[in-house]
């Protein structure tokens, strides 16, 4: 088969596998990059070649490798351009003193340890074609890497970009990145020339080219920005010139004797950071590069990774030594420097783990080393394992050393609040309202605000809007991009809040906007951390599923350790007439208490309690707790409660449906009687949810109902 056809068969396999394994990693809260690296390794001799050698040889024969290499090099050039583009001087603004010290020490220590470990590794895993100096320099550089792009995603995903730790880690990683690329450039020059002295001309030429780019290159790119501002959009003509610039710059650095990637990185780095232009370039470039070309790079790298080469216990010991040197060097360097700079132990430790993230950047460096012959296939495999382990451990170790609840307290600047009224620390009645789309959930927020009520001594409604970021390297998932999305979402929520009536109630609303890829989990975490009293979540009939209360609403119902109410909006503006069908289970008690809270808040509202019995003999009496609550209610509230009985022998659900015709809002506890209880197989029946003629609020109780009645105390 022709090699081009084979490559075209290989690429979809590579893309599909990297997406599938990437999804798996997302599921276990790991960065996508881990999945992509693993997918590449799986396609190589370490797994595919091991279990199906003939098929692997047929699908990935050597004649296709040059094609894959060309694709991966093009991908790498444009990926490095994107990384440079993303390197915003803004990241260098915070705590620069500490960051420069920490990042330099966090390079110097692992570099020194790497150099020392070369004494053990060189005679064992290198051959005479490589000089010791080049080997030691390269090993030192490989140990010193911190992957800025992966670290930036971990920080965004953990909502750390506004925390002291997050800004410090980002600044350190940005400084680290630039320094490590410089060390690598020197290492490549030395590896190519054999020793330092011969590499000096290359290094001098590289410095001249960097200076050229910082002056003339920047001047030319400013002209590009001017042109962009004049036309107001990024034309294909302009983008074509930018791409030509990237490739030409890559060629120049390759000719100088460093590597293609530096030229591409430089163009991105010196590009003036006009936000709109950068965003447009990134958005136009990143999809094809990240979806198509980068997985090919991972596959090409994975095919060269042979875990089978570690076939002796002594080699695994060497691998452990490499891992220990890499982790200890980065951790100790960062920790000590941070402590010297006055950072507390916990934060210094978290910073040490964050700086250990090596991910993709390490892989780029290792592939250069293997291609140049500076590192042998065996050492390449050990270092790939090291890159995987150090990236994999970052998120869990960060959570272990510095749990989210503590990071929250260290926000550098408070999140924007619509009106900064002072909230009492304790005894606040908080309602959390997950809002997926601010433009369609006015009814939901209005209901939550009405339940909170302006009469309550301390009631707050938190509309929670979560921003899902799917791509690891996409521009919108950079801290800067994510920040912009967060600000836009705050703006949308603010517009929504201004539509709520009566106007005084708007001051109760305090939105929360977070980055999260798991809405249900994030909602329940925030509910637990912020002492939420009630979650009110909206529900829309799913178009392609009969699992009525499934999906995210179902997950919140299962996971949330607080009371939950699910709202089905039928578009009724008024909340004058309330109906609570009462069977007598604990969830009904919550329904009744929420209705009483609404009555207490609004003097014109009336409540009808439909006492439904499931059997003729049974009496659906109020519980002791509820009777007690009723007695404490002021007379003017009790007067507006009426008990009604359904017609004889009437089934509960039709009785409620009939009564709901006269109500604005029906509040029911989750109960089998209403057909809205979770069944053993996880499916829900939903007759009431579909047929109820008023808006419907389904309650699921978790804690004491009295917590909802602070308004009467």
């Amino acid at each position: 088969m022709h090699a081009v056809i084979l490559v075209l068969i290989e690429v979809p396999i590579v893309i599909a596998l990297s997406r599938i394994v990437g999804l798996g990693c997302r599921w276990i809260k790991q960065p996508l990059v881990i999945g992509e690296i693993l997918a590449g390794i799986m396609l190589g001799p370490s797994l595919f070649g091991l279990i199906a050698p003939d098929l692997a040889a047929a699908l990935f024969p050597a004649e296709t490798l040059p094609y894959l290499n060309v694709l991966s090099q093009i991908g790498l050039i444009f990926f490095m351009f994107l990384i440079g583009l993303e390197l915003n001087p803004k990241y260098l603004s915070g705590q620069l003193d500490i960051a420069i010290l920490t990042s330099h020490v966090s390079i110097l220590v692992p570099f020194s340890l790497g150099t020392l470990s070369a004494i053990i590794l060189y005679p064992l895993v290198s051959d005479g074609s490589v000089s010791f100096t080049a080997f030691a320099l390269f090993l030192g550089a490989a140990m010193s890497i911190t992957a800025f792009p992966v670290l930036a995603r971990i920080i965004t995903e953990n909502n750390l970009q506004r925390s002291r730790l997050g800004t410090l880690a980002l600044t350190c990683a940005a400084v680290d990145d630039v320094t490590a690329w410089c060390v690598l450039a020197v290492a490549i020059a030395v590896a190519k020339e054999g020793d330092f002295v011969k590499a000096v001309p290359t290094i001098v030429e590289a410095i001249i080219y960097i200076a050229f780019m910082l002056t003339v290159g920047r001047w030319l790119l400013r002209y590009v920005v001017k042109l962009y501002r004049r036309t107001g959009r990024l034309t294909q003509f302009l983008l074509a010139w930018i791409y030509i610039g990237v490739v030409v710059s890559a060629l120049i650095t390759e000719t100088i004797g460093i590597h293609l990637i530096f030229g591409a990185f430089l163009v991105g780095a010196v590009m003036p950071k006009d936000h709109d232009l950068v965003r447009e370039i990134a958005e136009k470039t990143e999809d094809f590069v990240l979806i198509f070309l980068l997985p090919v790079f991972f596959a090409y790298s994975g095919i060269r990774t042979q875990i089978g080469l570690l076939n002796r216990p002594e080699l695994w010991l060497l691998c452990l030594m490499v891992l220990a040197v890499a982790i200890a060097g980065k951790y100790i360097g960062t920790y000590v420097a941070a402590r010297v700079s006055g950072i507390d132990k916990r934060e210094a430790s978290a910073l040490g783990w964050l700086m250990n993230t090596r991910g993709l950047t390490e892989l780029i460096v290792l592939n250069i080393g293997l291609s140049l012959g500076v590192i042998s296939p065996l050492l390449f495999t050990m270092l790939v394992i090291m890159a995987l382990v150090t990236t994999f451990m970052t998120s869990p170790l960060l959570e272990w050393t510095y749990p989210k609840r503590l990071i929250k307290l260290d926000l550098v600047e408070p999140e924007p609040q619509p009106e900064s009224s002072a909230e009492p620390v304790t005894g606040v009645y908080r309602i959390l309202v997950p809002v997926a789309n601010p433009s369609t959930q006015q009814g939901l927020l209005q209901l939550a605000a009405t339940i909170a009520g302006e009469r309550s001594p301390a009631a707050v409604v938190h509309p929670l809007s979560l921003i899902e970021i799917e791509e690891d390297y996409a521009f919108q998932s950079t801290p800067e991009g994510a920040d912009r999305l967060i600000q836009e979402r705050y703006q949308q929520l603010e517009e929504l809040i201004q539509t709520l009536e009566p106007p005084p109630i708007r001051s109760l609303i305090h939105p929360i906007v977070r980055v999260s890829n798991d809405v249900a989990r994030a909602t329940t975490e925030i509910a637990a951390l912020d002492g939420i009293s009630l979650i009110v979540v909206g529900w829309h009939r799913p178009a392609f599923s009969n699992n009525r209360l499934g999906g995210r609403v179902g997950q919140i119902l299962s996971l949330a350790p607080v009371d939950v109410a699910v709202y089905i909006d039928r578009g009724k503006q008024s909340l004058e007439s309330l109906l609570v069908p009462y069977v007598g289970n604990i969830h009904d008690d919550l329904a009744l208490v929420i209705a009483l809270r609404l009555l207490t808040n609004y003097d014109t509202a009336f409540l009808s309690v439909l006492q439904v019995t499931q059997t003729p003999q049974a009496q659906s009496e109020f519980s002791y707790e509820l009777r007690d609550i009723m007695q404490q209610l002021p007379q003017k509230v009790r007067d507006r409660v009426s008990l009604i009985q359904p017609k004889e022998a009437s089934e509960p659900i039709p009785a409620v449906i009939e009564a709901s015709a006269r109500a604005d809002l029906t509040i029911v506890g989750m109960s089998r009687a209403w057909g809205i209880e979770r069944q053993t197989l996880g499916r829900y029946t939903d007759e009431l949810a579909i047929q109820c003629q008023s808006s419907l609020l389904i309650t699921r109780r978790h804690s004491q109902v009295s917590s909802h009645l602070d308004v009467i105390s």
Binding site: G49, L50, L59, L65, D97, H104, T115, G128, G308, L309
Partner: protein
Amino acid sequence: MKNHFNLKSLAFYSIAIGSVLLLFKIVSTYGEANLKAQKSIQGRYLLSLEQNLPDCLEFSDLVLDLQQSGVYLNGSLLLAETNSRKTRVGEKRPTLTGKLNDRVLQLNGNVPLSAICHRPVGSAVNAIAISSQIQANKLVGKLNLGKTAREIAFTAKHLDSGESIPQNH
């Protein structure tokens, strides 16, 4: 930016970077002078056997494909024409492992007879041990096949990349 480069931090950076450079200089001087890595022997070698393999009805040319990572060796022993037709990456994993010590290489592994013989008698998988010395661009040594104590002497010529294998058949 006023405080970033004061005298104290400049002194610190000078000392820190200076000591790391000094350490690097000491280590690299020591390494260049005292540490010797093994000679690079990676590549394909065409084996000339002094006699035919046992249980093989037809004399076959063999190619030893060596992968080297320092002292650690991995290799595949294949029929010459299989090796020229098939490609190295993505195909079967190396079947032989071993070490290189002072120009002496030892390789061991299990190879099916069908992989190294055109007309094998039976389908046995043989334990193979190769011990050899590097002499100029050649390997000179012996090959032990199966449990028999029979040793077959060979010399192996290094094939340059892209060099075709002379066909005897």
